[in-house]
């Protein structure tokens, strides 16, 4: 029942662009910036995307994640992610009563997780999906020497593949290990929250492929947005490595203290 409810809220998020409309008009969806000159055009074309009207947030509920790796596989296909590099991955934590923590993420959970035989009494065990945190004060954009990494008005961090010189400084600066150098394109690459999808009113591939709604996308600038509401009101929502003051926009619900 609960699942159904979330499902419904997704549908309303998708709005009228649901179904295959998007595929048919792929590329035909005009994307317009909130420029003074262009705001005219937005009025004419209701489908146009206005990035000043969005402020995306991401929420992961670690209690729900079943560690199936569907998100990782979907992400790899959607974004042509090269082998052994990850825009998103899932970690498994198996914690014993005396605090011993076993962590693994075999090939980023691209093929799910094999059973492990732990030789101790398991106190708790859980999965944690990870991805780019799209930090507000992100070190990766700060250190990019050429302005190839940037933050969009709707709150995402992107890398301009045509200007990146491939120095790798951003890879070093990201505290979350979310970036990598693309082995063929030789530029920095990372999660875009499927910018090509969300700007068309679709969900990121990882959110959509999650069979248990452990991953959710929200929008702070949308009235009554459920995800933004949870983040604002919940007491069990936190971010990773808060002490670094990067102000992530990716939040974790029910996150265990072992994770950072």
């Amino acid at each position: 029942m609960q699942n159904r409810e979330t499902e419904m809220s997704r549908r309303s998020f998708l709005g009228k662009t649901g179904g295959l409309a998007v595929l048919v008009v792929a590329g035909g969806v005009t994307t317009v910036f909130a420029d003074s000159k262009q705001s005219e055009q937005i009025k004419k074309n209701p489908q146009a995307y206005d990035w000043s009207q969005h402020d995306y947030v991401y929420l992961v509920d670690t209690d729900k994640c079943i560690g199936c790796g569907s998100c990782v596989r979907a992400c790899q296909k959607e974004n042509h992610v090269p082998p052994h590099r990850f825009r998103t991955w899932v970690e498994r934590y198996v914690v014993s009563h005396d605090g011993h923590t076993h962590i693994d993420s075999p090939d980023g959970a691209r093929n799910g997780f094999p059973p492990v035989v732990s030789d101790y009494n398991v106190a708790k065990a859980f999965f944690v999906p990870k991805l780019c945190n799209h930090c507000t004060h992100t070190p990766c954009v700060q250190v990019c020497p050429v302005g190839a990494s940037y933050r969009t008005k709707d709150g995402l961090i992107l890398v301009d593949e045509k200007r990146c010189i491939g120095c790798g400084y951003c890879v070093q600066a990201c505290p979350y290990g979310s970036r990598f150098i693309h082995p063929e394109l030789h530029v920095a690459s990372k999660c875009t929250l499927c910018y090509h999808r969300i700007t068309k009113g679709m969900l990121p591939a990882c959110v959509q492929s999650c069979p248990v709604q452990a991953r959710m996308l929200g929008d702070r600038k949308k009235n009554g947005d459920k995800v933004a509401e949870i983040i604002a009101t919940s007491k069990v929502v936190r971010v990773l490595k808060p002490e670094l003051l990067t102000e992530p926009n990716c939040y974790y619900k029910n996150l265990s203290k072992e994770v950072y």
């Binding site: 070190p139 010189i165 120095c167 890879v171 070093q172 990201c174 505290p175 530029v187 670094l244």
Partner: protein
């Protein structure tokens, strides 16, 4: 293909993004800055004992400067876009200033060398014929003024340039340390001491290189080695290596004593993956032994014969060249051996011999500056300390 991982690494963290080339780069710029400091000691601080290496130090600095960017270009995913860094620099990035500082320093050193060699160039232009003459005339910019007042102007300008050059060289290299020191995500790099450690070890490597070059060049040219000069170089070297090692150890001792979060990864790092290169080479072989050797040269001065001093200085300088390189290596590679998960370590990292960013290419890049110095020496033969003497002879 994937490396052995101990503990848990973030899956993207198992790749060593900054390879041997990025260890080469601070090594080369360190030599640039260090060699320049030696010339500044003579030109600005009036350490006359260093006169025999005053030209050599500038030319060495320039020779390495010419190739300092090569390891970066080899490393970049898109070297053809490297100029983006000067045309659209993002000044919130520590790296963005690189192009400008490099260019400014390049111009400064070139200008200074030109002024110092101007008289030689003009004499060479007068002496030679044909294309050679045209070449030197071009270099003289068509002005053949070597009157006393003109040379006095040159001398004054050189002193000013050398004085400006000191902060610029410090900046050029200190900022390389800053690139590492200002990364809060990396426990091994993130410390305000980093630029200072880099700077001091740069001076150590610069002086060491000059000791080596001076001894070798004089030996091959069959010219007398000035004991005063070697002694002075050793004294300065001793001072700087002591300061450097103190800073290097201070940083680690502070982390260990504070039991900071960083120590959680640095302790295993130093006792496993870096045990050999840090404790063995950087501290014992590269620091302790040279400090003792140079201590002998400095403290037991009166007991040493010239050949003995030269031998000790040579060995100490070699070890120090190695020390500084391993220090760069331990910083650059060491910082990537542990994952930002703070719980995982790579087995270790060793570059391949023939890869694009491998050992062979690194050696080649390291040799290029020496070729440049040799070419320079061919074009302007007065690298040696006796240049004054030679010029006097010519003038007669």
């Amino acid at each position: 293909m994937s490396p052995e991982i101990i503990g848990y690494s973030f899956p993207n963290d198992i790749h060593v993004t900054w390879s041997l080339m990025i260890a080469m780069y601070p090594y080369l710029t360190g030599l640039v800055a260090g060699a320049f400091m030696v010339s500044a000691l003579y030109h600005v601080f009036g350490i006359t004992a260093l006169k025999p290496v005053s030209r050599l130090s500038l030319v060495t600095s320039f020779g390495f400067l010419l190739f300092a960017t090569v390891p970066l270009l080899v490393h970049l995913g898109h070297p053809e876009r490297s100029l983006n860094i000067v045309f659209t620099p993002n000044f919130s990035s520590a790296m963005a200033g690189f192009g400008f500082i490099y260019t400014a320093y390049f111009i400064l050193v070139l200008f200074e060398i030109w002024l110092i060699y101007r008289k030689d160039i003009i004499l060479l232009a007068r002496r030679s014929r044909g294309i050679k003459r045209a070449f030197y005339a071009c270099l003289a910019l068509g002005v053949y003024d070597i009157s006393e007042p003109a040379l006095a102007v040159d001398h004054k300008t050189v002193t000013i340039l050398a004085a400006i050059g000191i902060p610029l060289a410090c900046f050029l290299h200190g900022y390389v340390g800053f690139i590492f020191g200002a990364i809060k995500a990396n426990a091994w790099w993130s410390t305000p001491l980093m630029p200072i450690v880099f700077l001091f070890s740069a001076i150590v490597s610069g002086i060491a290189l000059l000791i080596l070059l001076y001894l070798v060049l004089m030996k091959f040219a069959n010219k007398p080695i000035e004991p005063e000069c070697v002694q002075a170089l050793c004294q300065w070297e001793w001072l700087f290596i002591i300061v450097t090692v103190t800073l290097e150890l201070l940083e680690i001792i502070t982390l260990a004593y504070e039991r900071s979060e960083a120590w959680m990864v640095i302790a295993p790092l130093l006792s496993n993956q870096l045990a050999f290169s840090f404790i063995g080479i950087q501290i014992v072989f590269g620091s302790l032994i040279p400090i003792i050797l140079l201590g002998i040269v400095v403290l037991l001065r009166s007991l040493l014969t010239n050949p003995l001093r030269n031998t000790i200085a040579f060995i100490a300088a070699l070890l120090l060249m190695m020390q500084v390189f391993t220090m760069r290596w331990n910083i650059v590679i060491g910082g990537q051996i542990f994952s930002k998960s703070m719980r995982g370590f790579r087995e270790n990292y060793s570059p391949g011999l023939f890869e694009k960013e491998g050992i062979l290419v690194a050696l080649l890049i390291f040799l290029l500056p020496f070729v440049a110095i040799a070419v320079f020496q061919k074009l302007f033969p007065n690298l040696e300390p006796s240049s004054d003497h030679a010029q006097k002879v010519e003038a007669h």
